[in-house]
């Protein structure tokens, strides 16, 4: 293969960033607050936030729902960043490799499955929503009263797939470049939409306008606040499998938490979701393409919806990049070229393009359980790295595939961690059912995510202290000696 005319160091850097090789500090992509903030906004702000906004409105109190949602993001994102980002930030390793020190050499494949299912699940939902919104726009403009043209929807969805491939084939540097444009566009559009929905009714009046109490999830103010907090927490938990992939590209310590929390949380997800909630109570519609045209008129409405849909590209290429790096855990993918990997990941999207309604209806329901899935994983990642290992992990042993690895545990799996993950799912679902919204007695005071997270931390810490006292499993003892041991590593 000829690389004539291409800077060799640039090529190596690109290959490293697009692959599983540890990224040293000097090669990190995000050096500035602004660039990272932009990338974080792109991850947090996608058009499905406007749909989540409608759920916030249906809590029953628009103001309490929005305040609770922002509180939930704020208090949950910070510990999630620590749990899923610290090890990847320190050693530049991708999240699945990082998780081997906790879940075991083989057990970390559980996280790989979760990453692929979540990133690809959300990405395909977003592609389907983009196609559907474009179809709705076409119907509103040209065939009012008629149905959506499914061929048009499929065409737009496939065009999105092609655009993602073209943008991402050059590697992750495109994410930083693209989000420089899409993130401000998302915020400007959200601000314009906020202006439009508050044009005839003041912001304060709208904030205190609620949906019909008969349609509300509850009329109890404390429970309304707790629902808002839990929706925010649930959104924050979704970041657990993704964030390590971003953290390994961050250079400065002071950037690991705040710009990500502001970008992905309060600005990206929080602001756009709040606008969606206000629009839902102002227009009575939960379909963004419909209420945007209704409030802005055909001309401006079309422009806004088009920019909104194109801005989804920032979110989509971020998600597909993270999936592309993670899938290289499978040897077959590790040997393929980056552009081929991305093409293979996008391939199921062609089926999605023709089944957008089915995908939105079924996959969205399943993804509602993300919070339950990730609360236990976040707890063990944080406890293991910060409390049990005191931040001392041997990067070489993360790449040893045999029982020689310090992180082999029992047959390559840390069964204590697996048990804790199951405990997390059970606890979370016994306190809050994300589908039926049924809650336990303590929910209105403490929600579901935080008590489940705390219980998993205590359980895992006590159980692993016992393991460490009784055996050498997991490489918690004699770390300095293990570091000197000659090992054979591989991808």
């Amino acid at each position: 293969m000829s690389n004539a005319g291409e800077d060799v160091s640039g090529l190596i850097s690109r290959e490293t960033l697009a692959g599983r090789l540890p990224v040293p500090g000097s090669a990190r992509l995000y050096n500035g607050f602004g660039t990272l903030l932009g990338a974080a906004i792109a991850i947090g702000a996608a058009s499905f936030n406007y749909l989540f906004g409608a759920s916030i409105a249906y809590i029953g109190s628009t103001s309490l729902g929005i305040i609770g949602y922002l509180i939930g993001l704020m208090m949950t994102l910070a510990p999630m960043y620590l749990a899923s980002g610290m090890l990847s930030y320190r050693h530049g390793v991708d999240p699945v490799d990082a998780a081997k020190s906790v879940l075991g050499t083989r057990g970390s494949s559980l996280l790989l499955v979760m990453i692929l299912v979540t990133t690809l699940g959300w990405s395909f939902v977003l592609i389907a929503m983009t196609g559907q919104a474009a179809g709705r726009l076409q119907q509103v403009l040209f065939y009012p009263g008629g149905g959506i043209d499914n061929t048009f929807v499929a065409g737009v969805s496939i065009a999105m797939l092609v655009l993602i491939w073209l943008l991402l084939r050059k590697g992750p540097a495109m994410i930083a470049m693209l989000t420089r444009f899409t993130s401000p566009a998302i915020l400007i559009i959200a601000a314009v939409l906020l202006y439009l929905v508050t044009r005839d009714v003041s912001f304060t009046t709208l904030l205190h306008t609620n949906v019909d109490p008969k349609l509300a999830y509850t009329t109890d103010p404390l429970l309304q606040l707790a629902y808002g907090v839990e929706f925010g927490a649930s959104n924050a938990l979704t970041i657990v499998p993704f964030f390590g992939g971003m953290a390994r590209l961050i250079h400065k310590r002071k950037h690991l938490v705040t710009p990500c929390l502001l970008g992905a949380g309060l600005i990206g997800a929080g602001f756009t979701t709040a606008v969606g909630a206000l629009a839902a109570v102002a227009t009575g519609s939960t379909e963004p393409a419909e209420w945007v045209v209704k409030t802005a008129g055909n001309g401006l409405g079309t422009l806004i919806v088009t920019v909104l849909l194109l801005a989804n590209l920032g979110t989509l290429i971020s998600f597909f990049y993270l999936a592309g790096v993670s899938v290289q855990q499978i040897r077959f993918f590790a040997g393929l070229r980056w552009d081929i990997i991305i093409a293979l990941l996008l391939l199921p999207g062609i089926v999605v393009a023709f089944e957008t309604e089915w995908l939105i209806a079924h996959v969205m329901n399943w993804l509602a359980y993300n919070g339950a899935m990730f609360v236990g994983i976040a707890a063990i990642l944080l406890t293991d790295y910060v409390l049990l290992r005191r931040q001392k992990v041997l990067p070489a042993h993360l790449f040893v595939k045999t029982r020689e690895s310090a992180y082999w545990f029992w047959g390559g799996v840390n069964w204590v961690a697996m048990g804790t993950i199951v405990l997390g799912i059970w606890t979370y679902l016994s306190l809050f059912n994300p589908m039926t919204l049924a809650v336990g007695g303590s929910f209105r005071y403490i929600g579901a995510a935080m008590p489940s997270f705390a219980l998993c931390i205590v359980t895992y810490y006590v159980a692993m202290r016992l393991v460490i006292a009784l055996s050498d499993k997991g490489g918690y003892r004699n770390v300095d000696q293990l570091a000197l041991k000659k090992v054979s590593v591989g991808l």
Binding site: G72, A78, Y81, L491
Partner: protein, 74 residues
């Protein structure tokens, strides 16, 4: 078979390397050695992380306090 002298890995390290090592795995060994280099150990990413934990704790506590305040207010 790869010629061992072509591997260009010098100095002390903790890796068992045979001559049949593939390009990808050789890149990994080099990356791991670079991770432990004096230059990388002086880099900001390898310094103590107390400030990261404190920042995260600050955001968490602020969220809990806000929840309590709003809860009492309503």
């Amino acid at each position: 078979m790869r010629d061992a002298s072509s591997l260009h890995i010098s100095g002390e390290h903790a890796f068992l390397i045979d001559e049949a090592i593939g390009d990808l795995d050789l890149d990994l060994v080099k990356s791991l050695i670079a991770l432990n280099s004096a230059e990388n150990l002086k880099d900001e990413t390898s310094l103590p992380t107390g400030s990261i934990i404190l920042t995260a704790a600050g955001w968490f506590v602020a969220g809990v306090v806000l929840w309590a305040l709003v809860g009492f207010y309503i």
